[in-house]
């Protein structure tokens, strides 16, 4: 791809990303007051989206990834996101080494 072409692609992608970020709000403001069912759906957005986002990496990634995720999930009951990441990465690193040989 040409230099100009790549710039055009990046700027178009940036514009489209902004539209997705502002779009949900613009659509929703046309439907106030919100029906309780819509309200319930919006309350569930973080759970539904984040769950769908990570499910394949955790469940289809392999045994080491699954175990590391379970450990990190338990850590998350008590500690902040930083510790969730550190514990998961350490467990994964150890398991990958043990399992390979």
């Amino acid at each position: 791809m040409s230099d100009a072409g790549l710039y055009a692609l990046i700027l178009t992608a940036a514009f489209m990303a902004f539209l997705t970020r502002i779009g949900g709000h613009l659509i929703l403001t046309r439907f106030t007051p919100l029906h309780p069912r819509v309200e319930a759906a919006l309350e569930a957005v973080p759970i539904a989206v984040l769950g769908a986002l990570i499910a394949p990496a955790i469940l289809l990634g392999g045994p080491a990834e699954l175990i590391a995720s379970i450990v990190a999930g338990v850590v998350a009951l008590r500690a902040s996101t930083a510790w969730v990441i550190v514990s998961g990465v350490v467990v994964l690193m150890v398991l990958r080494r043990v399992m390979v040989g």
Binding site: M1, A17, H35, A44, P56, V89
Partner: protein
């Protein structure tokens, strides 16, 4: 809720509190940003193009997808469509977060949405639910700190990318799922957490195995939202229909 602007000192304290709250997720953003910087340079991007992509698109997962598809000489239109599919979750984020921005002016709203990446959305939602009033100072303290660290990590990655040792060896390729897992667990107190999560995970896996990525995000999310809708009271008076 007061319509009067808070005193200056309070604004500063709030902004600082927001920036401090972002510290826990910065360890995840650094390797993610560095890796993008390094991969973009390897893929033939100039440093200016790399920083423009990260600074203007500002949606890491879709940027990785863009690099991968460019490497396979896929047409720009198909690349943009795939990026739209992966970024479509922002429409849902935007609808949800927009309810909490009453204290934002119209320009602040525009900027707030432009900076709304996954952790900023998750943190903003949690803050709004915990304090019942999300202020612009706290939000931008958090969001600007995430943006600054993301850009810095990109700059480091494109400058010293060769120094990053095999990501898989150090488990760095798995930082992103763990980080989203941490964000997700922050919402475990929400009513209907387990049923919504269970169905969204199931939907995501089914779509991933049949249609394929990146459509599992939207497929799983909509399945989970359907459960939330089904569990909700049917009428505005809050009476349950079950």
């Amino acid at each position: 809720m007061s319509t009067v602007a808070p005193p200056r000192g309070e604004t500063r304290t709030e902004a600082l509190a927001g920036a401090l709250a972002s510290l826990t997720i910065l360890p995840a953003i650094v390797p993610f940003g560095m890796l993008f910087g390094a991969l973009a340079i390897t893929a033939g991007f100039t440093p200016a193009q790399t920083l423009l992509a990260s600074g203007a698109i500002y949606a890491g997962a879709s940027q990785y997808l863009m690099l991968e598809m460019l490497g396979q000489s896929i047409s720009p239109l198909a690349i943009l469509l795939a990026m739209l599919a992966i970024n479509f979750r922002h429409v849902l984020y935007s609808a949800a977060l927009g309810r909490h921005l009453q204290r934002f002016s119209i320009w602040q709203k525009g900027l707030a949405f432009a900076m709304m990446v996954d952790p900023v959305f998750a943190a903003g939602e949690q803050r709004a639910r915990a304090t019942s009033s999300l202020g612009p100072a706290w939000y931008f303290g958090y969001a600007l700190s995430v943006y600054a660290v993301w850009m810095l990590a990109n700059a480091l990655g494109l400058s010293f990318g060769a120094l990053i040792p095999e990501p898989a060896r150090w488990g760095l390729d798995y930082v992103l799922p763990l980080y989203f897992l941490g964000l997700l667990m922050g919402f475990r107190g929400t009513s209907g957490f387990l049923p919504v999560l269970g169905v969204s995970v199931l939907g995501s896996i089914v779509v991933h195995l049949t249609i394929g990525p990146p459509y599992h995000i939207l497929g799983g999310a909509l399945a989970g939202l359907a459960v939330a809708v089904w569990r909700a009271p049917a009428a505005r008076d809050g009476r349950s229909d079950r």
